[in-house]
């Protein structure tokens, strides 16, 4: 699962958001972020994929997609939902027919970090000096 995520995540960041994601070997365990984009994968077991994103990186992603728009909160969250959808969708595409994709959600700030206390990231990436962290639970 980690290898599949390792294969797809940087591709999505590059193709959709024009950003290079460099894997942080060993991780930072900093758990810094303002939003958690979450999607549930239903299959032989129930998995929850969560992506912890700092707001400043969310804004960079947003501006790369929509340079002429203001990164309003609702639009930023919608974009992060779509990020979770793309990562989850591409993940189950490689996992097989028995998997189903849930609908993505985005949780803000403190509420979001509550999900992640004590959890170990599956992957962490440096993107333009910011850390984006992926968790897979289940």
């Amino acid at each position: 699962m980690k290898e599949i995520l390792r294969e797809i995540f940087p591709k999505i960041m590059e193709k959709m958001f024009f950003l290079v994601a460099e894997e942080l070997e060993g991780g930072t365990s900093s758990q810094r972020g303002d939003y958690v984009a979450e999607i549930i994968l239903k299959g032989p077991k129930l998995l929850t994929l969560r992506i912890l994103v700092p707001r400043s990186l969310g804004i960079v992603m947003f501006k790369n997609l929509f340079p002429e728009e203001d990164p309003e909160e609702d639009r930023l969250k919608d974009m992060l939902q779509e990020l979770a959808n793309m990562v989850g969708g591409n993940l189950i595409s490689l996992l097989g027919a028995q998997w189903q994709l849930g609908l993505p959600q985005v949780y803000p700030s403190i509420e979001a970090l509550g999900f992640l206390i004590g959890k170990n990231p599956i992957l962490e990436y440096d993107i333009e000096g910011e850390t984006i962290t992926l968790y897979l639970e289940g």
């Binding site: 929509f66 639009r75 779509e82 969708g89 591409n90 595409s93 609908l103």
Partner: protein, 135 residues
């Protein structure tokens, strides 16, 4: 008169992105309409004629596959060319939507060039078909 296009996706980011790609593509556009799921899209199609549809698969209320089945039941609506744009890459699902008559499939994440190329090919095919039909 330009092409009227319906974009069906539950993500407003994707709808706005596809709209922007269409606007920058040089394709002569009429109205670009939006719906956030299959049910809303059917509602739009009761009021408006569109030349083609860009449609996601995974959506709440009515997903893209149910939407295609609904269109297929209608003699007029079933003629509208559809391009699916989805994260879905499983072969059995892709084959299912192809069997429901879609004209092209674009996997997310997509580049603006991929979308533009698929739409230009589709428009090219439709034009040549119209010309053949009228001659």
């Amino acid at each position: 008169m330009g092409f009227n296009i319906l974009i069906v996706d539950d993500s407003s980011s994707i709808r706005r992105l596809l709209k922007k790609v269409l606007e920058l593509s040089g394709i002569e556009l009429g109205e670009v309409l939006e719906a956030s799921n299959g049910l809303e899209a059917l509602d739009v199609l009761k009021r408006e004629w569109v030349d083609f549809i860009l449609c996601d698969i995974h959506m709440p209320k009515m997903d893209g596959i149910q939407f295609l089945r609904e269109l297929k039941r209608d003699e007029v609506l079933s003629r509208i060319p559809i391009i699916m744009v989805s994260t879905e890459g499983r072969e059995e699902i892709v084959q299912e939507v192809k069997a429901l008559g879609i004209r092209a499939y674009v996997k997310k994440p997509f580049s603006p060039e991929e979308i533009r190329e698929v739409i230009e090919n589709l428009i090219g095919e439709e034009f040549s078909r119209d010309e053949r039909d009228s001659s």
